[in-house]
Amino acid sequence: MKVLVVDDSGVMRKVIVRALNAIGVQDCVEAANGLEAFVKFQADQFDLILTDWNMPEKNGLELVTDIRATGANLPIIMVTTEAQKGQVVAAIQAGVSDYLTKPFDNEVLRTKLDKFVTV
């Protein structure tokens, strides 16, 4: 299983990759913003994308919109601090598969991933 982890915070990318490693996902690729993520998405095959919302260059919502516009239907989970209803609706309408709110622990992450892929 190959996962693309997108967050402008280097620390958060490390946190998410560590959490993924802890639940058995070893093949992780990182991107620091939506623009870099879209380039990597086009160049490789991923089983899942975990993306932050607020990022420079291209935010998470814009990234999701661009990915879905290519016809790709891989699962995309938005990882963010903000879980208010309006934002959740906007994210789902853009094509987000699920939402993961920070702070989260490894078991919450595993439960989210189990819905879409076999770890």
Partner: protein, 161 residues
């Protein structure tokens, strides 16, 4: 008007920020926080080694300042990324900014007030500086204690016109 915003900060905003801070430190860092004191200020001298600052706009206008002793930041980094830094490096600054981001987001979620926008966090290292606000801003401080050291959350809110 000034009484109304003070009451609102103390009875509504402060509890949301306190709960958010405690939840984040407990869930992501495994650290139990206890509230040591709360206080009102006119200006802010964070007083700790690393500070994350994040703005609020829209239906609430204000600033959240999260200041931590470096031992708290180092313990957090060790938990988050598996390595304990020996100085306030890029990862530590990034981490404290992310803590401010999560605290702001968690409080925003608890307040459930529509139209609130969180800015991008800024981080500062060192403590020999002061943050000043305009006269129409109310500032409340919460001091916490953790097993690794102290941290402070300051909430600066503009009074409604």
């Amino acid at each position: 008007m000034s009484i109304a915003i003070e009451t609102q900060i103390q009875s509504v905003y402060l509890p949301a920020f306190i709960e958010s801070t405690k939840a984040i430190f407990k869930t992501m860092l495994g650290l139990e926080l206890s509230v040591q004191a709360t206080d009102k200020l006119n200006a802010i001298q964070p007083g700790h080694d690393v500070t994350g600052i994040i703005g609020l706009a829209g239906s609430i206008e204000g600033t959240i300042i999260v200041s931590v002793e470096k031992e708290v930041a180092f313990a957090a980094a060790e938990t988050f990324i598996g390595e304990r830094p020996d100085s306030v490096n890029g990862d530590v600054l990034d981490l404290v900014g992310e803590l401010a981001n999560m605290i702001g987001g968690g409080a925003k979620d608890r307040l459930n007030i529509p139209g609130v926008i969180l800015g991008l966090p800024t981080t500062v290292s060192g403590n020999d500086y002061k943050i000043s606000f305009k006269p129409d801003v109310e500032i409340e401080t919460v001091q916490f204690k953790s097993p690794s050291g102290s941290l402070t959350i300051q909430i600066a809110m503009r009074r409604p016109a």
